[in-house]
Assembly symmetry: D2
Homo-oligomer: 469 residues x 4
């Protein structure tokens, strides 16, 4: 699933393994399962107990690893990263894990999320004489750890984490230990599993399934986990507060087969569809979903509404980066890019078109038009999440406020802009019910992009955007 | 959709266009949509009115065309081909279209299907001094056309087609004309569409949608269509008989968004699921489908049975040929290949697992085991087509009789072999009802692999297998 | 040595091996040594005693073979080919060896040279119903062999060779035999060697050296050699006449380390330089050669004249086809393509610039200008062969008559056109003395391009050019 | 010229340009000319006046740049680097230029040479809290510059250079300035040229020729040159001492068409051959050189001795990294790797074999054996430089003392080890005469590897080897 058709993009996925003799290969398969979280670059750092070796590159996981020799990457521990990147942000230098060498030992870091006070911290570090080679938040943490200078790495890492404000999931590898940390509100996902006696960590549990690992538990908000040959240990670097897992992970970003904080993504999406059918029914002949992320919600909507679910839009699976894009001329003649409507299904029908979310509205407008050109009589758009009216500071690369269609238009205006016969969104309450089972301290979502209710803030927050993850 | 997990494999897809100044590019996009019909090689031959130019190669459509320069392939007409190939059958020499040059003009041919009397015809041709460079049936037809020596190409092609026995869809390109032909029973699919004034032909209508073409009509059984700057003309080289479109095209081979003989594939699959639910209900908690080809039938089964449809198996989309296959050791440790069960969905559940068909049973056995390992309490297998008990002579590369699980075992034995708690197949009658609307001369299916009722036979048929398509 | 800077281009190289268990790999190394004879495509056909397998592709030998698996190409005999090709002549279809399959066995052919009566033979073959898939002369021979229909392959091949007129070196592979043939005048080079008990044949002996083979003997003019498990046998298909080996092979085309007809190429070139110094001395400070092919002659000239040899021009070794060509703008600013003058050597000097030959004169003009820009006071051009005034019909792709500078200008005019302070050519007699030791029936050269004295002619020769080699 | 057959390897080449609108493209061609100085990786950093952009990668210059888009690398100034690397030293992280970003501006560095006190400086920097991401000396300099903290960059760089001990050529790029610096003894080569109004710098002048630049002058020992839109300025960071240019640059490392410190490399090599012929004549029939670096000396030897120069060894030009290495089995059967003897030249002859230098002796032994197997009656080895008996601390990656054949064996023993009939080396005095014209403060060579006379030393010098260049 190349997430190019959206204005929303996840920033990065992390993976780690400790205690497996094929650590680098397992990491390759794990990163493969996390490919949807970042397609710009990928990398792995391996420890064989006495030194760290790195392999990384620009491109898809397969492209990067086909140039690797696993025999050069032997070791029993590894961390890996897939990176989502924006144009012009440093290329290969920003591909993670970042590896820092010193005469007393090396350290590698990989990260998913965003540090809100990165600009301020950078300024402080540079004023003290530090040199930063990347525009990555990850490098900031490395310098903070180094600056702390506590006796043990655990203490130094804990110190450093208390200085950063934001949303993050970190995996850190030294020759003899692996560290795993989650932000104090648990905004980003991070889980622990096991393959035999080996420990694995990953942004999503789908990476456990592909490598045959069994899920063990979530990393807790504000927890620093240390894994070594002595086993697993846990400390806290922040007080316990209610978790605020990013709702967009459920709505759009994660793979349907992942469990996030003990909740299956597909199942939550189906419940979003069910809630949506209750809140916003439609007079129609069938329900269709925009592939791939809206299929689960569409099936839920169909089940609840009693309308048949149909495959009214097909996604063309252009393999890899070698696909030759059609010229403007051919596109105007009707050569399709990613999505094709199925005339045999939609012709003459009133269709409910389920989408998971709308950012700028350009994709929705195009799909509605495709459906109408294919003969759909009416198109009723139903969105399985609330309107996105606020920016995200926690690591999701959404359009700026100006571009958010829901921040600048009424519901009726949106319907008109995208050419729908009607439009309705799921309520924030409906979304919450679809995702969480109870609202204990262990559960809870961040829905700031829908409600503006930000769980983490920073004084003097700047608008300057460093590279996230 | 790389069709590797099955013992069934389609052989090839054809595409043609006449009267468009970007003929080669349009063919590229068309072949892209037909990629699922053959991944071994692809090619295009273009006519600029005075000469034919060829570009072809081994690999996926993208791999082949990234080495092409469209400026070298200018022309207003083109035919293209994607090829499914078996190990050791000649490599690049067998990639189509085949191009034959002579001092009186050139001719290119591309073909989907199987000529049953190819061995005999080859023997005759060689006895007469012909030299064949490929093991392809397509070359046989070229020699027959040449041998006929009638005044017009139409007559020679018509002569040649009357000599061959089998199932086939042909597109033939000369400098000034394109010919399109379908076998007398219409076993293989072949449709005609238009982009503006340009004519397009393709094995499946999904290739029309991607290039913005509008479906016009089916090529009729026994029809030879001639397209040139003077327009479109039709002749018949065989008497009109009832059409016998290959049922496996609906069951498994074609893309769900294609319409075959005016019937949408997804819709027919959904009806197969509905029929199956009627014929073989199950006491269960949810319905899951084996991706991708069984999803439509699973949704139909869910709708009819009232059970919820869930995403219980995920297909890992390994991109391209660069994927590094896990070693046997890692596979035994649980590293997954193509399909992952979703524990969060199936754990503790009684699931109905819908598959489109079973050939050898090895894939089914593996999926049932994956589901049980992921915690499924019961697995009830329901197959959306009848048992495959007979070989195909019409261009589908199925396992031989010995390997067909249904040819050698009872239903109960099959359930035991694959480890299912129960198993049931759709009846032949149910399948027919799901596909065809009426049973006029224009409609009808070939279900020989299920029933042994072969619509076309050959005296002295040999077991020697030449390369199909 | 990519031969792009000349208007002369060799057409193709052939290689064959019988009786070595690594036949395909040996062929790869052999073709590598013959790479300078053709860079457009390469291929191999292997026999394992019961069937023939092919691997071929467009591009350099390395590019083609990096996609091969030698395990798929097992067999004890193989033939290979490197092809020089012109734009638009059929692409992959014309890459050799060509493989022809029939129910009674297969046959593969590879070829260097040109058949002068190919057009006429094609017309006859097509009139009889044959279909030709390539524009290659090689296919014509295959049809002639087939048409002959003699009891043994030897007889059929002998028959066919008697029908063709031209210059050619053929290697032909069947499951159980390899055939090697040279044209009646021995215009093209072809040698036989041995590795242990295995026989090898190649266009140049440099291919023997790289694979550790020992030279045995030349194939004789008009000889057909049959190699099989029974050993080596020889027959003649033409009367014995004096050999006429292509002089341009010595002057420019072959590698300096090859021995052609028992004469080392480097040594003959050095003698050309010595003769040239005798015939055309120059008042100068040093001698430089145009790399790579003129270095040997320049050293000979320096030795004979007593002037020092200097490295006044350097060839930039752009690796492979990925080199990014400079834009016209950058070229005008002085960004160099292939050849750089060495200012430190030529500044303020009167230089003798040795080149092996001049075709159109454009390259010579460019080099003279480069030398003058680098400070050379005088440039005296000396050419180590006579003026090229006539076209070649025997397989060398030279410019047409209109473009040959020496066919249309006097010596003085040539000097002025290329900007040289003086120019002189080696005489035809001097060239002959440099190459041949005696002038027996076994020795002798074809110098038709210099003298117009063509050793082989055809009645009704057409100007229509089919693909050579 | 891939320098794999030697135990000596140059470490890196640098290039820079200021004031040309195609700065990145010019750098590409410049690096191409410097390819022989490093094949492991290459990179460029461009300034458009307000920011720096980087493109780099592992592999040859062509491989790295074929993935670049020059439109993404617009700017009027650039620095580039080709890197020679040893196994396991960090991969992509060590590829230069290194780019350091800070809120007050960015800085990129590229470097050829070796800092002898790098280990000590790293320790100090790390003790002060600095984090180093690479094992490259270049990063050390960046930290020293940053630590200096003087008002202007010039002052900070000057400060930093005074802390480092060793041999180095640096190019440093900031948004608005380019800095160029050479070590106090001028051990490494570095020249300045101009293309129109634009300034270029390069490790060798061959990079000027390829881009059409005119040589201006050498960078002086201990000089820091600043280039900006205001023109060129020069300061000194070290007292003036006699220059000590690395003699191995003339003997082996540089391209023959380069001028180093106003001396042409080919011409100096030829003089080495002439001196060698005077010092060590041989009774023989011909002179041959080991390609490519010994050809000039061989020609000089031939000229002086009156013996004919012959092409007795040919280098097989395996293109790129895709060459398939012959298996051990095939190598033992005689399949050649890089060098082939020419039987037609050497058979029955007494040959003088000229080589530029001997490190371990394994290559020499192999070549002597090849010549004898090809029939040479006697092989008299003559080496155009003195015996290498001491390690290099100035950036040349030679074998350690233990491996240096001349450090552990007498001349007679060496002759026996390599199988030569006689052997002789050029004297240190002869080498000096061949290279330098006078011995003023501006001229002079470092011949420490021959004589042990080291021009630069460090107290407490450690044996720990960081990555050079």
């Amino acid at each position: 699933m190349l997430a190019e058709i959206k204005g929303i993009n996840e920033e990065c996925g992390v993976f780690g393994i400790w205690g497996h003799e094929k650590a680098a290969e397992i990491t390759y398969y794990g990163l493969h399962a996390l490919q949807h979280r970042g397609q710009e670059g990928a990398g792995v750092v391996v420890s064989d107990g006495s030194s760290l070796k790195v392999h990384k590159g620009l491109g898809l996981v397969n492209d990067v690893f086909k140039r690797a020799r696993f025999s050069d990457l032997s070791g029993h521990a590894a961390i890996g990263h897939v990176r989502y990147g924006t144009q012009g942000d440093g290329g290969i230098d920003n591909v993670q894990p970042l590896l820092f060498r010193s005469q007393s030992g090396s350290m590698a870091l990989a990260h998913n999320g965003n540090i809100m006070n990165a600009y301020k911290l950078r300024g402080e570090l540079e004023a003290e004489g530090s040199i930063l080679q990347t525009s990555s938040d990850t490098e900031v943490l490395a310098h903070l750890i180094r600056r702390s200078g506590k006796e043990t790495s655990e203490e130094s890492i804990s110190d450093a984490l208390q200085e950063v404000i934001g949303a993050y999931a970190y995996v850190i590898l030294k020759e003899d230990k692996m560290y795993v940390a989650l932000d104090p509100r648990g905004i980003r996902p991070l889980s622990i599993g096991k393959i035999g006696d080996a420990y694995v960590v990953a942004s999503e549990t789908c990476a456990f399934d592909i490598v045959g690992a069994k899920f063990e538990r979530e990393v807790l908000p504000g927890e620093l986990v240390t894994i070594s040959d002595k086993g697993i240990e846990s400390t806290r670097f922040a007080l316990r507060e209610q978790r605020r897992m990013c709702a967009m992970e459920y709505v759009y970003l994660s793979r349907p087969d992942s469990d996030l904080n003990y909740v299956n993504v597909h199942a939550s999406r189906k419940r979003m569809g069910i809630e949506l059918a209750k809140e916003a029914p439609a007079e129609a002949d069938c329900v269709i979903g925009v592939p791939d992320s809206s299929i689960s919600a569409a099936i839920g909507y169909a089940e609840e509404s009693g309308l048949p679910y149909e495959m009214g839009i097909i996604k063309n699976r252009y393999v890899g980066r070698t696909f030759i894009q059609p010229s403007q001329e051919l596109r105007e003649q009707g050569v399709k890019m990613k999505l094709s409507p199925v005339r045999g299904i939609v012709e003459g029908k009133r269709v409910v078109m389920i989408d998971d979310s709308i950012v700028r509205g350009t994709t929705s407008r195009r799909i509605v038009r495709l459906l109408k050109e294919a003969g759909a009589k009416e198109v009723h758009v139903r969105i399985a999440s609330p309107p996105i009216e606020n920016p995200c500071y926690y690591g999701i690369d959404m359009s700026t406020n100006d571009e958010l269609i829901a921040a600048n238009n009424t519901i009726d205006e949106i319907a008109e802009i995208i050419g729908a016969d009607s439009i309705a969104y799921l309520s924030a309450k409906g979304l919450e019910q679809a995702i969480i089972k109870d609202n204990t301290i262990n559960q809870g979502i961040c829905n700031a992009c829908f409600t503006g209710n930000y769980p983490v803030t920073e004084d003097g927050q700047t608008g300057i955007s460093y590279t996230k993850c």
